[in-house]
Amino acid sequence: MVSKSGLTRRSFLALSAAAVAGPAVLAGCGGGGGGGAGGGGSTEPIKFWNMPWGQTAFNPLDQKITEAYKPEAGLPAVTYQVIQWANFNQTFASAVASKTNPAVSSGGGTQVFQYEAQGGIAYVDELYAAWKANGLYDDFLPGLIDTLKVEKGYAAIPYNLDMRVIWVNKVLLDQAGGKVPTDWQSYLNAAEALKKNSVYGYGTGAGAGAYTGQHAIVCWMINNGGGLFDEQKQPNCVTPENIEAVNFVLEMVSKGYVDPASSTYTSANVQTQWKAKKFGLGYDTGGLADNIGGDVAKDIAVISPLTSPSGKKGSLYFPNNIMMYKNNPSIKGSEAFLTYYYQNMAPLWTQNTGIGLPPLKSIAKTKEFQANKDKVRIVEEWVPVARTWAAPGGQANFLNVTTVDATPAMNTFTQSILSGKTDAKSALTKLQADVKATMKS
């Protein structure tokens, strides 16, 4: 469905979903079309809606940065609004349908592709042209901008990166006499060593609202040169690379490297297991250490990307983004604000508000950011090999990636693998069929 900077949003989504029941499903499904034509030079304030991307300090600082914007003469001012993750899809859908949508917003990582398909998104190509002149364009991490390129142009601007990386508890691994893995075989060796001390070598969770378990399996596929979509943007799940990757996970399940209750672990359960020193190795978000805190946070570290049997490196990441809407009092005003915002948003990272990784090299180079060795490693080693849901066929996301992002099909697939009661080909074949069934033409 969506992606974000850490576990918090996905966990919160699960909790907030509790507010919705059957009658709400009946009554709450808004329909309707996209926004109207884009505006030109109105002085009506433009609305910027942003999500709670970090901890409690994030939105107040973000609001401060936004409200410090002083528009040039003739351009509108900006108003700021926090949109909670609870039922955010409905919030945006009803706003767009009633033409009360913001001019600029962030949102779910794949949200922009839905509105773009409806003709409701203003492309940022002209903005990028201006940013090429002022150097902002070249400040983006390599390859990032193209993840949001669609047929008609650039649909949105990368905002923060939600990474999936491998964490190790160095203390537990040392105690077990294991070595930090560098490839799949050494990963199995490390997991075997940890098992002797009753520590799981593949810490993961795929329960209520926990989507990292799904992502982790796709990470193994991408690491092996696989993925879920081909060059024609069609699902292509049953490939030798994917089968090998799923077999690798199944091997870990059968050898007892995976907590048998993982298939129903919430994000909180996963963090509890890391804190309880029951997980010693595994894929998680780049913010795992921040999320678990305490002494164990000091014991864990991000390792370098593994080399798969195919000789490739890779992982899954989610370029969360900011988009402009066509139904907009002033496209020019929105572009001017975005230019200001991207030039002044660095404190969101340097003041450690908990937002995902920065999209700009200049922020990643600040001494505050460089102080966190794990985050530096992620930017330097993981981002360059990371791929989107579109892998292996492409790097730019598209509308139908919403069929695999936190969907029931992926959930069933992941839980069936983590329970060990399937084989790779059957699980991938079922996934292929389920994804096809939910695809939009």
Binding site: Q114, A208, P260, A261
Partner: protein, 320 residues
């Protein structure tokens, strides 16, 4: 005297004869306020009626329209007639969810009724700290489900949780309360009973208060056993309240989204997925409003049938 005293009391109660009196019950007197013409009454009711129509009827009609289209949350989609209903009814996932909904509802209704009735009967007796006990029993109902689900998750989710530790200490091994499909089903059903029994307890306690003590005294004089008193006097005399509570709890169970979604999310591998959870994930995770709303409508239809059947049963019962 034989058990006829109790029997007569029951018969009187069933036929509407006051236990302490005799003769036919008084018919309620029809009264009419001066000037309260149908037009006036209609005018008073109109604003409320309008609001009800606006708030309830319009969304339901709109949702019905969506169930006939292949739209998403942001796109009305094309008209597809009854295709969504046909797709849903031929989908094995729907029937698996329907089966578990039936199990979940049956266990939820009768499990909570049984526990609630037992506790209501217990609360009729005198014992120390009865009021404190009563208050504590209400906690599962009073506490928000989000909190309860989090607490239960803490109790059972990981091998280090209290209940798995207890199970291991009892020699049952590593019990996966949520990860094993069968145990997950049992766990969510038990959780449902746990959060629902206080409601049943209150309903049954109120119903028990309405039973005239003379009937029990008569039964005692006749030498009726406790079991006979329960099955031949108590249960028949509270049957109307029982049916009402069953209707309400059936609706609560079928529509219960948070209990399952928060505890298991419908997993593992859809083992605990009910129709309302399936409807939610279809609309809000698969973005398929047509099939999702079709599921919700089918659920509503089944609920109406069950409610009407139980309501008819109530009408057969003459006593309160």
């Amino acid at each position: 005297m034989s058990t006829s005293t109790a029997g007569q009391g029951l018969t009187r109660a069933r036929t509407g004869v006051a236990v302490r009196g005799s003769g036919p019950p008084l018919a309620p007197r029809k009264t009419r306020r001066p000037g309260a013409s149908p037009l006036t009454l209609g005018a008073f009711a109109a604003p409320a009626l309008f609001l009800v129509l606006l708030i309830n009827l319009y969304p339901v009609i709109y949702a019905g329209w969506q169930s006939l289209r292949d739209g998403s949350l942001i796109d009305a989609g094309d008209f597809v007639g009854l295709q969504n209903y046909a797709d849903v009814l031929t989908d094995p996932t729907f029937w698996a969810a329907a089966r578990f909904t039936v199990v979940f509802t049956l266990v939820g209704v009768f499990g909570s009724w049984f526990v609630g009735l037992a506790l209501a009967l217990l609360l009729k007796t005198r014992f120390p700290v009865k009021n404190t006990f009563k208050l504590l029993l209400l906690l599962p109902w009073v506490v928000p489900v989000v909190v309860s689900a989090t607490a239960w998750n803490w109790l059972v989710a990981t091998p280090q949780s209290p209940l798995p530790i207890l199970a291991e200490a009892l020699g049952l091994g590593n019990v996966l309360f949520l990860a094993d499909p069968l145990l997950a089903k049992i766990t969510v059903c038990v959780f449902k009973v746990w959060i629902s029994f206080p409601f049943m307890m209150m309903m049954m306690a109120a119903a028990l208060e309405s039973v005239d003590n003379n009937v029990y005294e008569a039964a005692k004089v006749d030498g009726a056993s406790k079991w006979n008193t329960l099955t031949n006097i108590t249960l028949p005399m509270i049957s109307r309240s029982t049916y009402i509570s069953w209707i309400l709890m059936t609706i609560f169970c079928v529509n219960d989204f948070p209990t399952i979604f928060l505890l298991t999310g419908g997993g593992p591998v859809n083992a605990t997925q009910t129709l309302v959870v399936l409807s939610y994930v279809t609309v809000f995770q698969n973005f398929q409003t047509g099939p999702g709303v079709a599921i919700a409508f089918l659920m509503t239809l089944v609920l109406i049938v069950i409610s009407v059947a139980l309501y008819r049963q109530i009408k057969k019962v003459q006593i309160l």
